[in-house]
Symmetry: C2
């Protein structure tokens, strides 16, 4: 098979698609190979606003990207220099890794990944002698890794703070040693709230090309991590494409692939098949894995009288297995062994909430909180074995029950990062569940959730397309930023202030470029006032040129806001004088542009 024969994703539409007002910048750390990307928005008033940037090298005009070669392995030298990992032959690839049955005539067609990514070393890496090569282990030893310094610059905090938060288990820095391409990022309540976007082909539809494109598209709009939830064929190959081209950590649910390997029969799953799948994915470079080890046999009956039972796919797979065998979950029983595997690659746990509520009626029930207590137990075990850990949360929760979720999770899980799906604040709006969940997401993040898993408009109805991914990411960036503001995160309000200044000063182009989505903002403006002069006009379509509240208001600011030391009383005293001036100038507080 030649490179040309390999199934390649369409050229990414991300490269070069850089907004006119957005410029790629870098902040260099203590070493030349530590360059942290930022988005600089150059304003028409000569100033610039620096924003967090998740879009990767794709938005750097000086970098040439090639999906067939993948991104440059930014962290490779850091990992090698630490000198605590070894390369090894790795697990042999098998047809069933791509969902191809042993008996299938297509069995021999598993793609040769060496051919797909020529020149890419295929030998995976792991901790030497089974050592925990995790950021948690380093932090506990007091070390500040290059990754920690990177995120410290990214978050504008001290590297020591990053180290201490990781050491305490209050934050995770997902960074598999086999995923050197990522730009390190951190998830924890004392950092900026993060957003995850799910992608993944399914048994029903979608292709590898679409998934890679969705990944770059999602990060383009601000996704901090991406989960590949593929369930159909080509799981392994899709994941390889996604990993090699992703500037953000990639998460998976290994159980999904394990289920494919047993042809969808949950009862045929075993610890051996699961473990093999985890190693397969860890060798590829998956940065965090959702593990539904908290679904215990005795919790299953607690879901029997729920309105919507078990809605987590992973949760129901494990419940089905437990029921079929009347045995305790193999994930729970082999949890320590699993920890030791993850530690040698620095795969971060995302302990799944398999019993999360799937409806308002089931929120905060016994099944949900019983599992949470088990997750607390597992979190302690994982941490004790050096594995970075975060905890997944609901789901569907009415507003008045949201805070209890995060408060309990923080207490039971010793402040481990909470990673929640929404929650949806009502069930009545399919097709708008990005909004029903965006409401819950903003609130739960304010109260302490560290990362929000996005929900798209297609939730409950179908598979998200490109537009849905964008809508989901933008909605969740809103929720995350609203939470940053509410938490009083240092510097968070600078962005709002810059945009509001632009708005007040009628700098339309700046207002567009500072928006989360400049394209749509510009498009909406132009629908009403398409002409180019309207971009500099001191009015907008709401009031028209004749009377504009902002204009009057600016006039007040100019007249009374100048003397920063004046008291309100002094300003008031000056008003009579100004009033006379107005009368003399014809009683016009502003000069209309048009009549």
């Amino acid at each position: 098979m030649t490179v040309q024969d390999a199934r390649t994703p369409a050229d990414s539409q991300v490269s070069g698609d850089i907004k006119p007002g957005w410029h790629k910048g870098y902040i260099t750390g203590s070493r030349p190979d530590l360059e942290v990307p930022v988005r600089r928005v150059h304003l028409t008033n000569g100033k610039a606003v620096t924003l967090y940037d998740t879009s990767g090298p794709y938005t750097d005009p000086d970098v040439t990207t090639d999906v067939r070669r993948g991104l440059a392995p930014l962290r490779e030298n850091w990992i090698i220099t630490r000198d605590d990992t070894e390369q090894y032959a790795g697990r042999e690839l098998r047809p069933e890794d791509d969902g191809i049955k042993h008996t299938s005539p297509r069995g021999g067609n598993l793609r040769n990944l060496d051919a797909v990514f020529p020149g890419r070393p295929r030998q995976p890496r792991r901790g030497r002698d089974g050592a925990a090569v995790t950021q948690l282990a380093y932090a506990r030893r007091g070390e500040i890794t290059a990754e920690m310094e990177y995120v410290a610059i990214r978050e504008n905090v001290a590297p020591e703070f990053v180290r201490d938060e990781i050491a305490a288990g209050r934050a995770v820095l997902p960074a598999n040693v086999n995923h050197p391409e990522i730009e390190p990022m951190i998830i924890g309540k004392n950092f900026l709230v993060k957003v995850n976007a799910n992608i993944g082909n399914s048994a029903v539809t979608s292709s590898i090309e679409e998934e890679v494109e969705k990944m770059t598209w999602a990060t383009r709009w601000g996704a901090d991590t991406v989960m590949d939830l593929s369930t159909g064929r080509n799981i392994h190959t899709t994941r390889e494409w996604v990993l090699r081209n992703s500037p953000v950590p990639i998460g998976t649910v290994p159980l999904y692939q394990a289920l494919e390997k047993v042809d969808g029969r949950a009862e045929d799953l075993s610890w051996e098949i699961y473990k093999d799948t985890v190693i397969e994915q860890a060798e590829q470079g998956v940065d965090y894995m959702t593990v539904h080890a908290g679904v215990l046999l005795r919790y299953v009956p607690l879901t029997a009288r729920r309105k919507t039972g078990i809605v987590s796919r992973g949760g129901s797979i494990m419940a089905a297995w437990c029921l079929a065998h009347h045995r305790e979950s193999f994930l729970y029983e082999h949890f320590e062994e699993l920890c030791d595997i993850l530690a040698t690659y620095d795969v971060t746990f995302s302990l799944g909430d398999g019993l999360r509520p799937g409806s308002i009626a089931d929120a905060n029930d016994e099944a949900q909180f019983a599992e949470l207590r088990t997750l607390g137990e597992l979190n302690r075990i994982a941490k004790s074995r050096g594995v970075q850990t975060m905890i997944e949360g609901p789901g569907h929760v009415p507003m008045h029950k949201i805070k209890e979720n995060v408060d309990l999770q923080q207490e039971i899980c010793e402040e481990a990062p909470f990673y929640t799906l929404g929650p949806l604040a009502t069930d009545i709006a399919p097709a708008y569940d990005h909004i029903t969940s965006g409401i819950g997401a903003a609130m739960i993040a304010w109260w302490g959730t560290a990362m929000l898993c996005y929900v798209t408009p297609k939730e409950h109805l179908g598979l998200p397309d490109r537009d849905d991914v964008k809508t989901g990411v933008i909605t969740y960036k809103i929720a995350a930023h609203a939470a940053d503001l509410a938490k009083g995160h240092p510097g968070a309000q600078d962005w709002d202030d810059a945009l509001s200044d632009a708005r007040f000063e009628f700098r339309w182009e700046d207002q567009f470029n500072l928006a989360l989505d400049p394209d749509t903002a510009r498009e909406y403006h132009d629908e009403t006032l398409p002409a180019e002069p309207a971009k500099t006009a001191h009015f907008c379509s709401m009031c028209g040129p004749k009377f504009c509240s902002m204009k009057i208001s600016r006039s007040i600011t100019e007249q009374f806001g100048g003397d920063a030391d004046a008291t309100p009383e002094e300003i008031e005293a000056g008003m009579l004088e100004k009033s006379k001036e107005f009368a003399a100038s014809g009683n016009r507080v502003y000069l209309p542009l048009a009549d």
Copy 2:
């Protein structure tokens, strides 16, 4: 001018546009002319769900509507029977009512409304001898009006409760005696949270036809009231069309029209021009009016050092007037006289927050709260003169400062209904401000706001079109309903439960029909699985036919959920037995539909 010559809106696209699963129903009260509309959703399992219905006679297939005749005057007989109003000649219509200058050659073209609405009595009605004919006055006298009984049925509460809430000033029932067409509704924190949609032509664009169509369209999706914020020409005529065809209360900002009458020069406004405009609109039937009487001269300097000054149009008009004359606001100085006018028509006050914050930076500042204290003072005056009153609120507020807004308002304004615009929880997402504000709206409504003024995706950018109106209304219905749930409003969760039941039981058509927006839900589903059989399939596109968590979960429910008296322990004890049965039946917890 003949009827045919009159400028008529396009035939409403609302009539007959009834969703397949939605059926108009009525609940009859103590008298045959008291029939309260409901939306009944007939489910495929033979049950039906009854929902609040704002769509008016347009969705009743047995009613023929004609925009040139307007809706039937439902309340006319109730008003006449009370025998406390008089008809009178009314104010003479003038060219400037439609924004036509005296000196304009078009001055003679004011439309003859008698011709536009033939057979419609044009004589307005008012309280006899200046009496307060308000629902507040009746409630205080212990009377339960037909309107109160109507809303009691609509809200499923006792009529006495409605009366007492109105008497206490905790709720308003906006119902001008000159707007007999409306289906009465109530606004108060102890009732369902309501949503207002703004429409209105502006100086830049849009037509009468569009505005009437937007009104019916907005109520079709759930708007409880509509504000006509027209600012361009044809203000009077547009409003007449909207009022005569509206099944919901109509609100306005009379200051906007008054400003048109003085050619956009704020300083030329006077109490006389304003008063004349209020009477003009009250005679037409406007149900509530935003009055920015809390913008006092001494508060204007408080806005000088704000990031975005005064963003309320009404607020900046009054600030400009106060500055130009260096006099106290004529609205404040003539407030008691204004109360007495409103009382004779039963126009409800919506005391405007002219100094609301226009950015995150300005939230909860001195200017905002100074005005709120004045609104508290005005609220007491209005109530003492029998005028129903609600209070408008912000604006742009970060999440952690939202609760203070509603708590302070409730304290200062003696629990008068709070009516807020969002608030927007961040400034960074123009083009998505329905979402930034939907987050704040849901929260503030949970904490006690009675009505939410919608924000569309076009906010800050342009004028909303039909799609934007729908998106804004749906987003705000989500926020309102999420708040109803969080407040534990009796029966609110029934809707969520019905939809979640349908979801769990794979009743796709029921899921669509129970959705706030069945059309879009169905469309999204069909994008992935268009075939008709997929509507009854026991799987969806997320997991595909092979493995479905809902299906496994249903199987658990069927096996363990049946015996309602069984304890979890008893259920668990039965599990081993079931496990053996599974093994005997081939270890399949469900039978796949396809392989």
